[in-house]
């Protein structure tokens, strides 16, 4: 059921103002259930049809815990230009494979695409990250997993702008929070979902933080993750909590493709383990 009645209509919408006669054309259907539960949000969903982008160190091809990767690209430098091209390098660290494996474990039927932003040299790595993100937004992914951040102030405005574009283009950016006493981005922006870690073993357990900028806590401690060479390791960090939320977003969007990032955040909030009345949800 669509939340947005106007989606099926071809007529052009008013962009900057709303004439009285036009209000009916953007009428929203009252499709929200009386109570948003986890069962309503993603019960029965496998993530099918949802496109998830892993912006990271690359993803190992044919890793048993990752399965099919629809496409792998990398950002590299060509003089002053940054180019996005198809890539067969795999993963230069192991981290991207770990994130892809976590998303896959939660949303087994989603599509995965890897954008490798590591390995183009250290210098300009923030610009490489930005180009990778720009490409991901252009491609219209439903969810972009960003277990990374930059501290470079010169890129903050552009990053902010991109995060807002993604928000309105219905690409949900899910970004790792930073637990060090230094400002970094984009996780601090309101248009992304920022994720920190909790210590529970349940991959579906997540908590809404009443004191942002970290908005949700997900599983990030001592978990077994896919790593290089087809194997697994145990790992800890907010960067592993992030793909848990990305995977849950994929489940929700597969069942409710009409949801915008604004709705999606609300659904995550309403289905968080710590939201009153939802502890058993």
């Amino acid at each position: 059921m669509s939340l947005l009645a106007h989606e099926a209509e071809d007529e052009e919408l008013p962009a900057w103002s709303l004439p009285a006669a036009a209000s009916e054309s953007i009428r929203l259907q009252a499709a929200w259930p009386e109570r948003v539960t986890r069962d309503w949000a993603w019960g029965g969903s496998t993530g099918k049809g949802v496109r998830v982008c892993i912006l990271d160190s690359g993803v190992e091809v044919d890793h048993p815990l990752v399965g099919e990767v629809q496409r792998s690209v990398a950002v590299s430098k060509n003089g002053d230009e940054l180019e996005v091209h198809d890539d067969a390098e795999g993963d230069l660290c192991g981290h991207g494979t770990a994130c892809a494996g976590i998303v896959r474990s939660l949303a087994p039927d989603c599509e995965l695409v890897s954008v490798r932003v590591l390995g183009a040299g250290y210098t300009g790595s923030a610009a490489v990250l930005l180009r990778g993100l720009e490409w991901a937004i252009e491609q219209g992914f439903d969810v972009v997993n960003m277990s990374l951040s930059t501290t470079k102030k010169q890129y903050v405005d552009r990053l902010h702008e991109l995060a807002d574009v993604a928000y309105f283009e219905r690409t949900m950016l899910v970004a790792s929070a930073h637990n060090m006493p230094v400002e970094s981005f984009p996780w601090r922006f309101a248009s992304v979902i920022s994720v920190g870690s909790h210590e529970l073993d349940d991959p579906h357990a997540f908590f809404a933080n009443p004191s942002p900028p970290v908005e949700f806590f997900a599983r990030g401690l001592g978990l077994e993750v896919a790593w290089l060479g087809g194997g697994t390791i145990h790992a800890t960090g907010n960067s592993f909590a992030t793909p848990h939320v990305a995977g849950i977003c994929a489940l929700i969007l597969a069942k409710h493709p009409e949801l915008t990032p604004f709705h999606l955040k609300s659904v995550l909030h309403l289905t968080s383990n710590n939201v009153a009345g939802n502890v058993d949800g």
Binding site: L92, V117, Y122, T123, L129, H198, L228, I233, H234, T236
Partner: protein, 209 residues
């Protein structure tokens, strides 16, 4: 007199470099002790070469590793550097590529490591790694926070060390600061009249710039 002044300034700079290196070394030793780890190291980012350099090592490899280099944009340390995110990985021996690279660069293969970026405001200076904390000890998120605190301290020491090195290079080099140092020495060495005239000129220059 000029030699004395240069020697005095140089002594301050050289002594500072030694002190800051000792501070960094002490930081990694405390990090190693507090996590009961086999080794701990600080890597300095050499931006021009795009390499990470072992700058201070405690425990395993302490005698042989300082000065060794490896690429700054691959592997766990490279990921931490580029993404600014701390990372803890255990059972790394399952990763054959990592094992080979680690064995080649450090002489031993850690089972696990904690890595955290060393940040000074928006700049990343390097990476702090703690290798092989006891496997049986259940890791907690509080340990990551502790590691972050250590990283902050190590970053300050590393920043001071780099500043001392730049000061030393400036004193020795032909660059702008080298010129200023030589000018200061010449003034110090001149007779009273020349010095007064020189200082007057410098005061005028200062107002101008």
């Amino acid at each position: 007199m000029a030699d004395d002044l240069r020697a005095a300034v140089a002594a301050g700079v050289f002594a500072a470099e030694d002190s800051y290196r000792a501070l960094l070394r002490a930081t990694v030793e405390v990090a190693r002790a507090i996590f009961h780890a086999k080794a701990a190291s600080v890597f300095l980012l050499d931006e021009a070469a795009e390499e990470l350099v072992f700058e201070a090592v405690a425990g395993e490899g302490a005698d042989s590793l300082v000065g060794r280099r490896f690429p700054a944009d691959t592997g766990v340390a490279g990921w931490v550097l580029v993404t600014r995110q701390p990372l803890v990985v255990e059972d790394l021996t399952a990763d054959t590529r990592f094992s080979r690279e680690a064995a080649e660069s450090t002489g031993f293969v850690p089972k696990g490591l904690m890595a955290v970026p060393l940040l000074a405001e928006e700049r990343v200076l390097g990476v702090l790694e703690v290798l092989d904390r006891p496997q049986q000890a259940k890791f907690t998120l509080a340990e990551i926070d502790l590691l972050g605190l250590f990283a902050n301290q190590a970053a300050i020491a590393l920043d001071l060390l780099q500043r001392a090195r730049r000061a030393k290079a400036a004193l020795q080099g032909d660059g702008e600061l080298g010129t200023l140092a030589r000018l200061a020495a010449t003034l110090e060495d001149g007779d009273e009249e020349r010095r007064a005239a020189g200082l007057e000129l410098l005061a005028a220059l200062e107002r101008l710039v």
